[in-house]
Structure formats: C-alpha cells, structure tokens
C-alpha cells in the first residue's frame, strides 16, 4: 500500500513509511487510485458507487449486509422536498462505466432530520447543512459478499484524537489539483494521521486532506490495529484542502433503530463484532415499607447501578416488584433511569384485585441508549385511601450492550 506523505500532521510517526513513497511531496493528502488487485480486500470491498437519477456519489456497506451509508445530498434534494425512486447501489465499482447488471435497486433509505433546523434556516446558521448529512440505505438482498463493515460507534471521539484514518470513494475530480478523474474508479485518501475538530452538529472537519466531488458518501475508516478498519463516519463535504465528515456516535442508534425492522426480519442473527458479550446484573431491595395511604407522594426505592463496562448502554431493562395490598388499583409504579428517563410500570390497573406481583416486566423500549450506570429509582404511590399497600421487594435486571464497534447481523 502506498502511503501519502504528511509533512505537517504526523510526520514523525509516518516518517519511516513515508520515505517509501515514490510520489513527490504534497502538502495535502489527496486521493490515489486503489489497485485492481485490492478491490476485493478489506476495507475496499465494502465500497460502492451510489447513483440517484443524474447524481452520483459514494457509499459503503456497513453494519448489516443489507444496509449502506451515503451522504444525504447525493440522494435527496432538500429544496425540492420530494422523494424520488430510491438510489442504486453499485458494489465494488472500479471501471470506466458502471455495470448495469451488477446494480442493485435499493428499497429506500432513512435520513436524519430535526425540525428546529428547518425554522432556523432563515438565520443561516453556518455549516448546518453538513451537521447530519447522511443516509442509511436498505435493500432486501445482500449488498456485499462476506460480512458488512463494522461501525466504530466512537468515531466522533476517536477522530478528535490523532488516529490513523483513511477515506475511500469515487471522486469525479481531485479537488486539490482540480484534476478530473474519468469513470467510476475507487480511490483512497490516506491513510494518514489526522485530528478532526467540531464543524457543525455531528460533523467534524480537518485540513490538509482533500477528496473531491463524488467522494461524498464514502466512508472515513479508523484503523483498529489487529481488528482492522472500521467505519467511523461519512464524508459529506470539503474544500480543496479541507474535508468534512459526519462522525458516528451513539446518536446513530436512532437511525439503526429505524432500519432494523426493515432488514433484520430477513437477517435474524445479531452479533457484536468485537466479541464482547452482553452482561446482566441484578439490583434489588427487600426493604419492607408501607406506602402513605391515599397520598399523591412517591416512595422511592433508589438503586445505584454500577459494575458495567465504561459507557455501556442499556440492552434490556426488566423490573419485578411485589406489593402486599388488598387493592392493586390503588397503586402507581414508575421506573426512572439515569438522566430522568421514565417508564410506567403499573398505572392503577387491576381494580378489585389483591397483591401486586410483577415479574420481569420488560421496559427496554423506554430506555434505549440510556447509560446503565447511575441512579435508577423504582417509585410507588398508593393513590386511593382505604387499602394499605406495603412494598415487599424490588428487583431491577439490567443487561448491557457494548458501546464500541458494532454490526447489525450477518447471514448465518
């Protein structure tokens, strides 16, 4: 693999390999063509060209074999606000012309929006268009042979450090030298050591790296050493000597949640690619306490949760409670997680029935992406006078999902 010299950033670290390059020194890292023999190797094999009508861009199959990422502006015109037929995916394109037979008609895509930015547009907040300018496309057929690329969910944090990164894609022009590139050939920009800074929203920028039009939607990879490359974000824009990327973080889960029901029905197996298995822990209290009768005031059972991996997020939340009473309908039970996220466990149901016994009620859907560690509270109210309610036990079962590189399942 040829390494482009980086005279300013990372010159010391790359000095030994940089001398191996035969190219003249360049101040800015610019795209270079990927050798034909490398197209089917990681991470190049995850790449594909994306076309939508007359527009062309780059993309990469990641997280799941039936999903690809690209830049939103490649496939959607925000000014027109009209959905067109979904984009086409051209896997591992590397030729003067796209092979129409190899093209896959995607079924659709999800894109990130928020309403606040629409109304604020009149104030022209700088760079906002790049904030979350990415899509996840989906198909009902596999978009790559073998596994999909892994996602680096800590991409946003990692890219702000001096990490070894590389971009790949299909530039139509080398922006730095304004040199045209014919056809649809896969190029890489880097690897190089760079540090990115916050640009706008979840977009990061860096200087001394130049891609070019057409590279939008391609991946920025971070080098995980022996674990290989993982996709840390999406190239969304740039200037002749600057590059802007949307960097992955836990907010990506919102998009993955939307696309999961669409692709996972045919791809049932979910795996965590970094081989860290889920962990379940129980937190309980057997403190017996009579609730104030008919008083609209909470009696709390706080549970301080610790012992999970750093930054671990909720995979599942189950709660069990036992309350001795002659009337379930008096009771309201609420679970509050760290940061104040709440879910109703019991809402005065069961009029006329005795003791409230709830076993492992699954409340996971209310606590997606919540940090596991912190204070969880099970809260009780006896809202009607006349029947005495005594809490006898509370059990909270929490299961973690590792917060690092992840994939959304591959075909068995």
């Amino acid at each position: 693999m040829k390494i482009v010299k980086i005279p300013v950033v990372g010159v010391l670290v790359l000095a030994s390999i940089a001398t191996a390059s035969a190219k003249p020194k360049s101040k800015t890292t610019t795209p270079e063509k990927v050798a034909d023999s490398q197209i089917k190797e990681d991470p190049y094999r995850f790449n594909g060209a994306v076309t939508s009508g007359e527009a062309r861009g780059s993309g990469f199959c990641a997280w799941n074999r039936r999903t690809f990422f690209s830049a939103a502006h490649v496939v959607f015109d925000d000014d027109e606000m009209v959905w067109k037929s979904p984009p086409k995916w051209h896997p591992q394109a590397h030729a003067n012309k796209l092979d129409r037979k190899a093209a896959i008609q995607s079924r659709g895509f999800f894109r990130w929006t928020n309403y606040a930015e629409i109304v604020e547009e009149e104030d022209a907040i700088n760079g906002k268009a790049f904030g979350r300018d990415f899509i996840i496309g989906f198909s009902f057929t596999n978009l790559t042979s073998g596994s999909a690329a892994r996602i680096n969910m800590s991409g946003s944090a990692d890219l702000k450090k001096p990490v070894r990164s590389m971009m790949t894609g299909y530039p139509a022009r080398i922006a730095y030298s304004d040199q045209p590139i014919g056809g649809f050939f896969m190029y890489r920009t880097g690897p190089s050591l760079n540090t990115y800074n916050t640009y706008s929203g979840s977009a990061l920028e860096t200087t001394l790296i130049s891609t070019g039009p057409g590279n939008s939607g391609g991946p920025i990879w971070t080098d995980g050493g022996t674990a290989g490359w993982s996709a840390a974000g999406v190239v969304v824009g740039g200037l002749p000597s600057e590059t802007i990327v949307y960097a992955f973080s836990s907010e990506l889960n919102t998009m993955l949640d939307a696309v999961s029901p669409v692709v996972k029905a045919g791809v049932p197996q979910s795996v965590n690619s970094n081989s860290v298995s889920s962990t379940s822990r129980f937190f309980s209290s057997n403190r017996k306490q009579q609730l104030p009768d008919g008083v609209h005031q909470w009696t709390d059972y706080p549970l301080n949760v610790s012992g999970f991996e750093k930054d671990a997020k909720v995979e599942s939340v189950k709660v069990s409670v036992k309350v001795k009473t002659t009337h379930q309908g008096d009771l309201q039970v609420l679970l509050t997680g760290p940061g104040g996220v709440q879910a109703l466990v019991h809402n005065q149901e069961g009029g006329g029935k005795r003791n409230l016994i709830i076993n492992s009620k699954d409340l996971s859907e209310f606590f997606e992406d919540v940090d596991l560690e912190g204070r969880w509270t099970v809260r009780f109210q006896d809202r009607l006078k006349g029947d005495i309610c005594t809490v006898e036990s509370v059990v909270l079962e929490l299961t973690s999902v590792p917060g690092q590189a992840s994939s959304g399942g591959t075909e068995p």
């Binding site: 606000m81 604020e120 939307a258």
Partner: protein, 379 residues
C-alpha cells in the same frame, strides 16, 4: 464496648435527640397532635433516641433542596462572571447538573424546580434548542427552558401542572414547546388529545415564534396524536411550507390512512406534498389502494404531480431523528413493506393494461420494473 466507642455513641444519641427536639419535623407532628385533640392543650414533647423515618426524610429532603438552591446560585454567578463561559462550557455544565439533580429525590427536585421557575430568574444562554434521546433537550436557549426540561424528569404530575401554568402565560415558543412535552407523556399526567390539539393550534397562531427552535420541534405533535384533525390543522397552517410538509410527511409515514383522508377531503395541499401523501399509502390495505387508484384517475391531477407520485410509490424512504414528543420515527418493517410491494405490483400490472392510463405508461413501466426487483429480492 470500649470506653471511647461508648462515649461516641452517647454523643451521637444526644445530638440526634437534640436535633429531633428542635427540628421542624418534630414541631409539625406536635402541632398535628394538638390540633386533633381540639382543646389547645400543650402536648409534652418526648425526645426520642432515634429519628423517625419522617424526620430522617425531612432532613434528607431539606439537604437536597439546599444543594439544588446552592447549585442554582453558583450557576447564576458563573454565567454572570467574566470572562463569560463558552457555549460548550455552558452546555457541559448544564448536562452535568441535570444528571446530578435527577439523582436526587424526584419529589424534592420537582418542588425545588417549581420554586426556581416561580422566582422568574432567567438567563439567555446563547445555545440552540436541540432535542436529544428520549425527547429530553441536549441544548437549551435559556435557563428557564433548562429548568422546564429537567422538571419533566422529576414528578410527572407536578411537571404537568407547572406545564399548564407556563403554557397559559409564556411568551416563549421554546418554553411552550418543552412544557407541552410534560402533557404528552404516558400516564396520569397525559392530557387528552383535544387539549393537546388546542395547544398545538395556539402555537400555530403565534407567527412571532416562527424562527424558534422549540416552535419547529413542536411539529412532532400531530404525529404523536395521529388523528386526521391534527393533520388537518397542520395542513391548513399557512406558515413555513418546508416545515409543514416535512411534518406532514412524517405524520403520513406513521399514519398513511389519515394522510390519504386529508387528500380525499380536498384539504388544500401543494401538488408535490399531495403526491407524497398518496405515495405513503399501504397497498396491502384495500381501502388505501382504492384511494390511490381513484387519485391516479382523477382528471384534476396534473402530469407533474402524477409523475412525482409514480416515481416514489410505494414510498418507504423516511426521515427520523430525535423527536420532542413521540418516539423517534421507525415506521416500516420488512413484512409491511414486502406485503405492500406484492400488492402494488399486482395493481401496477392492472394499470399497465388499462387504456385509460395510457398517458402514464412510461412511468408505470419503470415502477413495475422496480417493484419486480423488490419482490424478487424479498423472496
């Protein structure tokens, strides 16, 4: 027991007794006892060696309230200090404060926040209104918006009561929008659909709010309600067309039948927006498919609108993200899409054979090709 330990225990007991004797909690219980006797007698205090659970709770609550008030005072002083803290520093401090506050007794927190809101103290923070996970904000334009945001994480009923009070009086779109959130949460505090729609219409009528982030984020409410009445209020609003159409699109992705009902009721809509509402139809639903057929044959529809419809039908691309009121949109599943595609393919095949639709033959052929590929992929 060793002598020093015994002395220590005696000192602790003495302090506890003295505290109980003079504490407000013990006075409260004395007053209560006197009142119930109805004779105005002076009751004898009996210093206890152990604080009652009520006294313990009162002490804990008092300490927590004091901590919140101290945090607040420190925060105001910090915001007013020179040099001014940066936006990033302000946001990070508030995020940390929310975590710290929500770890306290939530009843105490609700009471303390209500008092702080009633004080009228506020600061402009220079931050955007940004929604984060679970509808909580991750960036707040003012301190009052921050307080209202945290309040929603405390006691649901008290938050709802405070929300109604704010909604009735505020001149801030951001306060209005974040307060409204407390009325949308499941449970006893949830307002009726009618009340929520009334508040939404009030918001739509405040044209001076049109550039506020909170105003924009409140457009998630019709999707939460899912009623034709809510969609109609949205469709008839004559403000920012981009905001209106984006909200209508997200509404119809979740509620396609109600979106189609808008078109059938001849609600004034832009042609492209109307085409997108119809393209969201579920072809596996016979009633929706019949509505689509009728729409396609409507002589009043211009070719541009029909082409936009045929290029996207059945539309399964969608937007998502953090939303203020409802769960983030995830409107489709493998099963619903593939069942719809099969039904759509059958319908398109019929349309292809219908001489009345000859004018659209080219677009129909492209649509049929796409549907055939999708149906084959799904096998």
């Amino acid at each position: 027991m060793s002598r020093p330990r015994a002395a220590l225990l005696a000192a602790v007991l003495l302090l506890a007794g003295a505290w109980l004797f003079f504490s407000p909690a013990s006075e409260d219980s004395t007053r209560s006892s006197t009142t119930s006797s109805g004779e105005g007698k002076t009751t004898t205090r009996s210093p206890s060696l152990r604080p009652t659970p009520e006294a313990e709770r009162a002490l804990r609550d008092s300490t927590a309230e004091q901590t919140i008030e101290n945090d607040w005072t420190d925060l105001l002083a910090w915001l007013d200090s020179e040099p001014k803290p940066s936006s990033k520093e302000i946001r990070e401090r508030l995020l940390a404060l929310r975590v710290s506050w929500t770890e306290k007794d939530l009843q105490v927190l609700a009471n303390a926040l209500t008092r702080l809101l009633e004080s009228g103290e506020d600061r402009n923070l220079g931050l955007a209104f940004r929604v984060g996970p679970h509808g909580f904000l991750q960036s707040w334009p003012t301190l009052r918006v921050f307080l209202l945001d945290v309040l929603a994480a405390s006691d649901p009923e008290l938050a709802a009561a405070t929300a109604r009070s704010v909604i009735a009086k505020t001149d801030s779109a951001d306060e209005f929008a974040v307060s409204l959130r407390s009325l949308t949460r499941k449970g006893l505090a949830r307002a009726s659909d009618e009340e929520l729609l009334t508040h939404f219409k009030t918001l739509l009528g405040r044209s001076e709010w049109k550039n506020s982030g909170g105003f924009g984020e409140a457009f998630d409410l019709p999707r939460l309600l899912g009623t034709t009445a809510a969609a109609e209020a949205l469709a008839r609003w004559e403000g920012n067309p981009k905001l209106r159409n984006r909200a209508l699109d997200e509404f119809s992705a979740d509620h396609p039948a109600e979106g189609i009902a808008l078109v059938q009721a001849d609600t004034p809509l832009e042609p492209a927006a109307r085409a997108m509402l119809m393209a969201r139809a579920d072809p596996a639903d016979a009633a929706q498919l019949a509505a689509v057929d009728q729409y396609l044959r409507d002589p009043l529809r211009q070719a541009g609108e029909i082409n936009a419809f045929l290029e996207s039908f059945p539309l399964r691309s969608a937007t998502t993200g953090y939303r203020l009121y409802g769960k983030h949109p995830a409107p489709y599943t493998f099963e619903t899409i593939t069942a719809g595609d099969r039904a759509a393919l059958q319908q398109v095949t019929r349309w292809m054979e219908d001489p009345a639709l000859e004018a659209h033959r080219g677009e129909l052929a492209s649509l049929k090709e796409r549907l055939e590929e999708w149906v084959n992929q799904a096998r």
